[in-house]
Symmetry: C2
């Protein structure tokens, strides 16, 4: 059979454009004994993918030119010659941006779509939820009564971070890019306060007003000037988990800013970059806690679902324009 | 009796000058029952004092205009009306820059000048040694075979950090400001390599050459462009204890530099500011280890001793011109 995939046509300079991607035809053979034929249902679209489009050393290797973009995908078994799977099973794994796949079944794991919608396994019960959980709990270490600020608060990770911080008994302030998003954070996701950085002229003052006791934990998804303003309000012994720097991902030059070390030094602040892989040995703990909070109704989630496999590049570009609330997913 | 003290006459802008200080006469009464009369022997002169000359919130409160500079002092008991002290005892405490003092004996502790020279209690067996010990061991956490880089390596703290890192089995590279200092580090203080930043045109390359396996721990005493170059060579999961930022202490504007967070993020680096007070509960552990290493001959120390009480301001100014090797002390 013939299927389609999306490859990296060229490396972007600055913000990616649709010409950096190309749709290609791929021929798939008949499946053999032990194999399964899979059809992509939901494709995860994540900010870190931008980094992999550069030819630079980072925590994930760069995507190759003329090779497909890869990421997490929820798939359905269409045909099975494996004793472990039957048609209709839903699985998750790391795959190219491609419509159909052949697998030996070893690179996927079955998921329970009765416990949660299939797409949740790309997000709150997947890397997104675990990133929020471990970054906040194991680096941020929030204590009841402390103030937690989250940037990119309406993004997939941020929206979970804020809710977990509330579960811990913290005063939680989110920073996001539209009034629609800030309203959603305080009305639907239990944030105590939220700041729209696009309409706020003095972020330093706005953060000081929203955090009268200063900032004890700053969960940073965005970097740049928003982070500069938060760090001006940082408390002694504060913790700053560095989860993302989306405001800088499209920079073509090394971004400059105020030097942070004097502030970190005089206030005994900890700043720590992390990737979720660092916590792999502890994933079961995270999954168990997240599932429990979802079941107890303490943890809610939101997704932005775009439709159509061919819209994957557009969805990725949309991330950098703040088009998403919560996790960005494309339904094939 | 009449004695003399040195007060802060005015707050410096940028580099302090001798006019920022003033010598004053002070009248001392006769000592009463329970009191002791003390004479200053050695005065500690430290980079952090520059921060206290500004009227700004930091980890130590600012010095007041027309009030004396204060710091650690080793003193001798001249006359005692206390049952706990006799004339000739040597003690250490935090005191103003003043020649003679009256004390009730509660703000000093006796030191053993047979174990080590009296001045060592201002340095290797005092805050300097403990700062090196806790910053390196509890934040840097060096493992045998790792590479440790120390900036300000010929300074009081740096020279101890490098030796402790060697005791831990690390490859140790120091950064200092003269050939005399770099030679001293490798010949007398067991550093594997040392870089003179004043004669090196490409620090990034020089660090890469001295650290072929990258940098696992960067003990930062200086900040600024030297730190930028070290951080370019930082390894995954590296640790950066922030101990000082002497290159920036005299800045009158907020110093700008390349944003660090993308590097800290993609390499899962920990950066942590600290002051020695954070580790107060564990001081006995540090003092015991430092004393043991000195006794075993594994830990050596060097001091720059200026003479004359009236030269205290000059000695402080000298710190910012790199005049000292090891701890800067003034002998009265």
């Amino acid at each position: 059979m013939t299927t389609e995939q999306i490859v990296l046509a060229s490396r972007p300079t600055g913000l990616p454009v649709s010409n950096n991607f190309r749709m290609e035809q791929v021929e798939l053979p008949e499946i053999k004994a032990g194999e399964i034929l899979l059809k992509g249902m939901y494709y995860s679209v994540d900010p870190y993918m931008r980094g992999r489009m550069n030819d630079a050393k980072s925590y994930a290797p760069p995507f190759e030119i003329d090779a497909p973009i890869t990421g997490s995908v929820v798939l359905q078994v269409v045909e099975s010659k494996s004793e472990h799977y039957k048609a209709g099973d839903v699985v998750v794994g790391s795959f190219p941006w491609q419509k159909d796949f052949i697998s030996n079944g070893k690179d996927v794991r079955k998921i329970d779509t009765n416990l949660a919608p299939a797409s949740y396994y790309l997000s709150i019960l997947g890397m997104t939820g675990l990133t929020a959980y471990f970054g906040l709990m194991h680096i941020g270490k929030p204590k009841a009564g402390e103030t937690v600020v989250v940037s990119g608060a309406a993004g997939a990770v941020g929206i979970v971070v804020g809710q977990i911080a509330k579960i811990q008994g913290c005063h939680v302030v989110g920073i996001a890019g539209s009034d629609e998003k800030t309203k959603l954070l305080t009305s639907a996701f239990s944030f105590d306060d939220a700041i729209n950085y696009n309409t706020t002229t003095d972020m330093n003052k706005a953060i000081a007003a929203a955090c009268p006791k200063g900032v004890d934990v700053y969960f940073d998804n965005v970097g740049g000037e928003i982070s500069d303003a938060v760090i001006k309000n940082i408390n002694f012994h504060a913790r700053i988990p560095l989860c993302g720097q989306i405001s800088l991902y499209n920079s073509t030059e090394i971004p400059m800013g105020p030097r942070l070390q004097p502030m970190l030094l005089t206030r005994s602040v900890l700043m720590q970059g992390f990737i979720i892989g660092n916590f792999q040995a502890r994933f079961p703990e995270g999954i168990q806690m997240l599932a429990q909070w979802i079941e107890e109704g303490k943890l809610k989630f939101t997704e932005t679902i775009e439709h159509g496999f061919e819209n994957l590049p557009k969805a990725l570009l949309g991330l950098f324009k703040g088009k998403n609330t919560g996790k960005m997913i494309v339904e094939a």
